[in-house]
């Protein structure tokens, strides 16, 4: 085996480890985003119990935050899936 091939294998091994770490982090981010999204939805429900215009405004902002966190969760899931695909392709080679 040539030195360049050995180096490629080492780099691939490093890349695989890095991808695993990314995958793990993405899963953690998506869990946090999902939890926060759920909390913001609860805040919306709580804040809309009161007949107060300012609280209603905050409630709308919370509902919107919940959706944006939901979007982050979806993005993380898609990225984690992409990393799975890359790892499978690398493993196949």
């Amino acid at each position: 085996m040539k030195i360049t091939e050995v180096l490629i294998l080492i780099n691939l091994s490093d890349l695989s480890k890095t991808l695993m770490a990314f995958h793990s982090d993405l899963n953690r981010i998506q869990t946090i985003a999902g939890t926060l999204s759920q909390m913001d939805r609860q805040h919306y429900n709580t804040l809309t119990r009161y007949n107060d215009e300012r609280l209603a405004g905050i409630a709308v902002a919370e509902q919107n935050s919940s959706r944006q966190l939901g979007e982050i969760k979806q993005l993380c899931l898609a990225m984690a899936q992409k990393i799975d695909d890359i790892q499978q392709t690398m493993g196949g080679k």
Binding site: S37, Q38, V60, R67, Q68, E71, Q74
Partner: protein, 470 residues
């Protein structure tokens, strides 16, 4: 005071009596009442536009698009579920996010499936209005659109996500400008104008407008019927390829919906567009000839349905995003457009109305509310940007919440999961055209109903769609 009131009542009574007597006795041809049937005959809007044409001798620039309701959205209803499929539990969040151009190097991810439609600075809207639209879109996690204009720095700064129209005026078609966009929409037409040329006279172009468009002083702003340097399909393909390579962002095509839409879309697919925007005949405009608004194009509902079926037939409905626009003003219409196959919806007229909101009191009763929002409006400086942004943000939030409620009652966890099976049609022709069950008969009786209808009156064709079993 009582005496004055009694006097006024007496006077009004006498005038009314005299008016009734005159109406009853005058020859009909000389009777003032003749105005009622004649106005009803031509329609009050047509009457006003006849008089305007007669006064000016030029096409009248009617604002905000056609008043005709060409898409029968009210003849489609969503199907709630209870046991057949269970509704979504209320503690489950509904996914509202969408990726525009999922196959692009840098897809455009938006939190909600509602986008602010292309409405240009200068040609249509004031700077304050454009900034308010951008701020509202940013608050809601979605994108706004430049319209057919150049790149306005204030809009770029206020918009986290900005779609720019590579336009027939050529004002954004410079790499220094379009490389700063989050998506590029090649604008070849719009629902309210088709692919006609447009001109804004120099007298209506101020300093900032000139600057954004890069016009010399005294120069008219002209939108040509064709894009400069695009005279063949190959030219178009090359343009799409170049923009994709230079930017990496989704590159799409916007056209006025037309009966030729499958042919137009095939060319867009061949050119590897990332998204297609269809602007139905009900689309809005800053001002355009009524004939282009009322008598040209294809209604949004049919255009969306046909386009979605075409993308499915070509096997690319997950790869190419379909953006619907044109007269969609209620969350129900927006969600029906999505259930028919649109991935996202542009809103224009409704966004402007929501943005102005309770500020209409500033313009009424002497000016129309839009006077606060348009570039040529006398009261445009009285528009409160932050209040306008909040109004529109609230409107977007309320619309999406209403859409989420339909997702819950149809048992879905994402707005993008709604499809034709979640709809029922209240018109047999619509049911056949859209491939949606007819609400008059049970799912298992659909084929028999249409078969009998064909036998009895020859009106409908028996379809290939199999009845669903529960």
């Amino acid at each position: 005071m009582r005496i004055l009131s009694r006097f006024l009542r007496g006077a009004v009574n006498k005038i009314a009596d005299e008016a009734v007597r005159t109406t009853v006795k005058d020859k009909y041809t000389e009777n003032l009442f003749e105005m009622i049937p004649s106005t009803k005959k031509v329609d009050p809007i047509n009457l006003a536009e006849i008089v305007m044409r007669a006064a000016r001798g030029t096409p009248v620039p009617r604002p905000l698009g056609s008043h005709l309701h060409l898409s029968p959205w009210e003849k489609l209803l969503f199907n709630p579920v209870h046991l057949f499929r269970f509704p979504t539990p209320e503690d489950v969040g509904i996914n509202t996010s969408v990726k525009i151009g999922p196959k692009a190097k840098k897809p455009l991810s938006i939190t909600i499936p509602l986008l602010i439609a292309g409405m240009s600075f200068g040609g249509a809207l004031s700077k304050n209005t454009k900034i308010a639209l951008a701020k509202a879109a940013t608050m809601a996690g979605t994108a706004t659109n430049t319209g057919e204009a150049g790149l306005m720095e204030e809009e770029r700064k206020a918009a986290r996500l900005l779609i720019g129209q590579y336009n027939r005026g050529g004002w954004l078609n410079d790499p220094e400008k379009y490389t700063r966009l989050d998506a590029i929409e090649i604008q070849l037409g719009q629902g309210a104008q088709g692919s006609t040329p447009q001109r804004t006279a120099a007298k209506n172009i101020g300093g900032e407008y000139e600057e954004v468009l890069g016009l010399a002083g005294g120069q008219d702003a002209i939108i040509h019927s064709r894009l400069p340097d695009v005279n063949t399909r190959e030219d178009f393909s090359r343009l799409v390829g170049r923009l994709k390579a230079e930017t990496g962002v989704p590159v799409g095509l916007k056209i006025a919906a037309t009966h030729y839409l499958e042919e137009e879309m095939q060319i867009a697919l061949d050119a590897q567009c990332d998204f297609i925007t269809l602007d139905g005949a009900e689309g809005g405009t800053h001002g355009g000839p009524p004939i282009l608004q009322d008598d040209v194009g294809l209604p949004s509902l049919f255009a969306i349905s046909r386009a979605a079926q075409f993308l499915t037939k070509k096997g690319v409905n997950g790869d190419i995003s379909l953006i619907a626009t044109g007269g969609l003003v209620t969350p129900g219409q927006m969600l029906k457009a999505m259930a028919l196959g649109a991935n996202a919806v542009y809103i224009g007229t409704a966004a402007i109305m929501a943005l102005i909101g309770d500020q209409i009191t500033k313009s009424l009763p002497f000016e129309p509310p839009t006077d606060l929002a348009v570039y040529t409006g006398k009261m445009k400086d009285r528009l409160d940007v932050d209040k306008s942004a909040r109004n529109l943000f609230y409107f977007l939030n309320a619309c999406v919440r209403e859409m989420e409620l339909v997702a819950i009652t149809t048992g879905k966890v994402a707005l993008g999961d709604l499809n034709r099976d979640d709809l029922v049609a209240l018109d047999p022709f619509l049911a056949r055209a859209l491939k949606i069950d007819l609400g008059y008969v049970a799912p298992e009786s659909q084929a028999a109903f249409f078969s009998e209808s064909r036998t009895s009156c020859g009106a409908f064709q028996a379809g290939s769609r199999k009845p669903r079993t529960i």
